[in-house]
């Protein structure tokens, strides 16, 4: 896809007090999987406030693979957490599929993370007590209670196995994460992120801990997933080469996004 819709400070950002309306009507709203307007976030170190995001405007289309590059400490991960509703912005808005989500109650945001967003991390973040298959099933188990889960257990397990097959881990179902290699763990994490059929995948330095070859394999996987599953992917990385695999690359500098 063409890099036609570059987001930047030039675009009308909603004011931080502008909760009431939607003046920032984007022409491609229905096509947007995830949007943000004027996102602000700062951290406190003692009494000093360190601003990390200073008004991030972002629009990601459906089935778009967007890469956000930035230096270490530039706030890439923070941006991803805020977009993924894991963290609350100090100001600005996050919209998901045409709906504002950052001001929703915690339950709604939890459900959103569970069903509509998938996340993968630099350190894979698999649960060490669970096997690969169980790790992949974890979001399903979170979504369902004991009874409702068992009611359709076969279906869920089949789905998880299919995903693991897709990422090439069908021979590692019963293994614990510590018995897997880094690449395998990241594959398992990808399968886990996709098990509830999310629209958007948020990837935080997915290749950060892998060697170049394995990293390239993971990128191949992401690219092919995007194509097969019509998945929207937002990836943050510091690695230009990795970012180059994306449809579009933006740069996070001084808390704002710029076209790369």
């Amino acid at each position: 896809m063409a890099k036609e819709k570059t987001l930047g400070p030039t675009r009308t950002a909603p004011s931080t007090n502008g909760h009431s309306g939607g003046p920032h009507v984007a022409p491609s709203r229905t096509q947007c999987a995830l949007e943000s307007f004027g996102l602000k976030k700062s951290y406190r170190r003692g009494k000093i406030e360190i601003p990390v995001l200073r008004g991030v405007n972002l629009q990601v289309r459906r089935s778009e693979f967007l890469a956000v590059v930035g230096q270490s400490g530039s706030g890439k991960s923070t941006l991803l957490h805020v977009l993924g509703t894991l963290d609350q912005p100090d100001g600005g808005e996050v919209w998901f599929a045409g709906r504002r989500v950052d001001n929703q109650p915690a339950r709604r945001r939890d459900a959103l993370r569970n069903r509509d967003l998938g996340m993968i991390f630099q350190f894979y973040h698999l649960l060490p007590e669970l096997s690969t298959l169980e790790n992949v099933l974890a979001p399903v188990m979170i979504a369902y209670g004991v009874f409702t889960y068992y009611l359709r257990r076969g279906e869920h397990v089949a789905r998880a196995k299919k995903l693991l097959d897709m990422v090439g881990l069908s021979h590692r179902l019963k293994h614990k994460p510590r018995e897997l290699s880094g690449g395998e763990m990241q594959r398992a994490a990808i399968a886990r992120a996709l098990v509830n059929r999310p629209q958007v995948l948020l990837a935080d330095e997915p290749t950060g801990n892998l060697d170049g070859e394995t990293g390239a394999e993971i990128m191949d996987l992401l690219v092919s997933l995007k194509a097969q599953e019509k998945l929207t992917i937002i990836m943050v990385t510091h690695d230009q080469a990795i970012a180059a695999r994306a449809d579009r690359v933006v740069r996070l500098v001084d808390g704002k996004l710029r076209a790369a």
């Binding site: 993370r113 569970n114 973040h125 698999l126 649960l127 979001p139 188990m141």
Partner: protein, 615 residues
């Protein structure tokens, strides 16, 4: 679903947490054991107290004189609460002193002297079954038995405390001891006499040629007669089995003496055989007595005009019988049953040793019913020992026939002949009705004269003390479990810190705060269940095998863990009460869960971004 899965996984993989609940296990097990044993003890003790004391007793406020006409009282009681009453027995309670000799020294013990009706006492409370002669347990009588007293504590079966001293007890002991005593005394007399003679220079003239002593005794009519035959050797007497045909005592009697003896026995025709020991070797003598009495009935009738003599067949007090010399060899005084604790002790080998045996005579001194009371003293013969295993009673009680006690204390009205008693013991049909019966009787009998109490009233302090002890123990043990709770708290905080990343992951996957909290709460609950469950099983097993364990410990340490001499029972009594166990387990679970609340809250409030930041 993930809560359950993770909780189970954590239980399976965190052994340190399992270590933290060992104290819960121990606490629960200890509480179960302690409660079972304590309630077993309480129950056994209640049984014993109930057995010794009657369900309800109506006591005179005037302890010394009592109240007259027990029969009328019993009729009245039956009229008031007849439906609930199973049996009643009149009783005389009086404080007394017990005197007996040990190695020539007089020993005095304070006792509670109880006059009982041998016939009805066992119906109103458990009396006979605490006695040491199997026949007495079946049908109690105040007559001394020939022998056959238990050689082991009968309540302990094969493990009962050894009482080999009882082998001698009974008539045999009485005869042999008296004979030895006489022998000794006679020899001492002879020696003394010989000394005197020698010092007077006339020794050679009067000593018999054989060298055996000559004994001068008073006959029944006051004429002195000589016992010429020497007695057999004292040492032989005590150790040797005596064959009936050659009872040395009988064969040592002169024909004149034998005649006297027969005559004396025939004087109480009904009594004659009753007071001969129940032994085949006396059959011949018994027959002789009955023949003699048939022969002499006509001529001796005059001697029997004393009213006291016929009134009570057991009355053999020498002061009352004219021309009757009490011969302790063949006769007993009035029987008495003495508490085991008064007459015995246990030596270092665990065997029971006796200071006196059935067959020995004791002296009882007690106040008369007069005003002011004066001391009266009478001889009694121990016919059995009483052991309820409540040391308070066993070291206090002496039972004698009520008629005898009434007579000796003057507890009767000379004109009407009505007797006095100090209390009436009542057994009710339904234990639970004891209080109701007491209240009915209280309403009917003036409280200023009668003190009406149940056994529970009498031993309330003891029972209250035991239940107090149980409660304090429970509080202390529960504190142990509470301490375990703090251990769980600390370890859970550690686990939450360790699991920070996992909590972040779960939240990033959409787990809710409540869900994360649920994981740790159910983790706490599972640990509590495991701990309490293990404690429950362990405690119940311990209770079930408590006697074997006690034995094993005794064997291991060489020290008696549960000494029946100290405790009242041969087996450790343990009773498991389901309600108590439910409380204990519920309490342990509550502590385990509440100890995990704070760590769980902390886990729930964890910021997922912080948790996910570093690998």
């Amino acid at each position: 679903m993930y809560k359950l899965l993770l909780c189970l996984r954590y239980v399976r993989t965190r052994y340190i947490a399992l270590a933290s609940i060992i104290s819960v296990t121990l606490g629960v097990a200890t509480m179960i054991v302690v409660n079972a044993v304590m309630s077993g003890f309480t129950e056994e003790m209640q049984e014993k107290i109930k057995g010794v004391l009657a369900d309800v007793s109506l006591e005179a406020r005037s302890v010394n004189q009592g109240f007259p006409d027990p029969d009328a009282h019993m009729r009245e009681i039956r009229r008031i609460a007849g439906d609930d009453i199973e049996s009643m027995t009149p009783t005389v309670y009086v404080p007394a002193m017990l005197n007996f000799e040990i190695n020539g020294r007089n020993v005095t013990r304070p006792v509670q002297l109880i006059g009982i009706d041998a016939r009805t006492k066992s119906q109103a409370s458990q009396f006979a079954e605490y006695l040491q002669h199997p026949e007495n347990r079946r049908q109690f009588s105040f007559a001394l038995r020939e022998n056959g007293y238990d050689l082991r504590d009968h309540t302990g079966g094969d493990e009962g405390i050894l009482r080999s001293g009882m082998e001698m007890a009974g008539w045999r002991w009485r005869r042999e001891r008296l004979r030895a005593e006489r022998e000794f005394r006679d020899q001492m007399d002879a020696i003394r006499r010989a000394e005197e003679e020698r010092s007077n220079g006339r020794a050679a003239q009067l000593l018999p040629e054989s060298g055996a002593p000559r004994v001068f005794r008073e006959g029944p009519a006051g004429e002195p007669f000589a016992r010429l035959e020497p007695l057999a050797g004292a040492s032989e007497l005590i150790t040797d089995e005596i064959a009936p045909e050659e009872d040395p005592y009988l064969s040592s009697l002169t024909s004149k003496e034998l005649t006297e003896l027969l005559k004396r026995l025939a004087d109480d025709a009904e009594l004659g055989s009753a007071h001969l020991p129940d032994d085949p070797r006396f059959d011949a003598l018994r027959n002789a007595v009955s023949e003699f009495s048939a022969m002499a009935r006509g001529s001796n009738a005059v001697e029997d005009d004393d009213p006291f003599k016929k009134k009570n067949p057991f009355d053999i007090d020498p002061s009352l019988g004219v021309g009757h010399t009490f011969d302790p060899m063949l006769e007993q005084h009035e029987g008495c049953v003495v508490g085991m604790g008064l007459l015995s002790f246990r030596d270092k080998n665990g065997e029971q040793q006796f200071l006196a045996l059935p067959g020995d005579d004791v002296q009882l001194t007690f106040p008369t019913a007069g005003n002011p009371p004066t001391a009266a003293t009478a001889q009694f013969t121990i016919v059995d020992l009483y052991e309820s295993k409540m040391s308070e009673y066993d070291s206090q009680f002496v039972f004698v026939p009520i008629e005898k006690l009434q007579e000796l204390r003057g507890m009767f009205e000379p004109q009407s002949g009505a007797t006095f008693v100090t209390s009436i013991q009542i057994k009710v049909k339904d234990e639970a009705k004891a209080e109701a019966v007491r209240d009915k009787l209280r309403a009917a009998f003036p409280e200023s004269q009668y003190h009406i109490v149940t056994w529970r009233d009498k031993q309330g302090a003891l029972l209250a003390a035991v239940s107090m002890e149980t409660m304090i123990l429970n509080v202390l043990l529960f504190l142990i479990i509470a301490v375990a709770g703090f251990g769980i708290l600390a370890i859970f905080f550690m686990i939450v810190v360790e699991k920070t990343k996992d909590i972040g992951i779960l939240k990033s996957l959409g787990a809710r705060n409540g869900g994360v909290m649920g994981i740790f709460l159910s983790y706490g609950l599972s640990l509590g269940l495991i701990g309490a469950g293990a404690g429950l099983v362990g405690g119940l097993l311990f209770v079930h095998y408590i006697n074997q364990i006690a034995k094993g410990l005794s064997w291991l340490t060489g020290q008696e863990v549960f000494d029946p001499a100290i405790y009242y029972f041969y087996e450790i009594p343990a009773r498991v009460e389901p309600a108590t166990i439910a409380w204990i387990v519920a309490g342990a679970l509550a502590i385990a869960v509440s100890a995990s609340v704070f760590p769980a809250l902390r886990a729930a409030r964890l910021n997922p971004v912080e948790a996910l930041r570093y690998g």
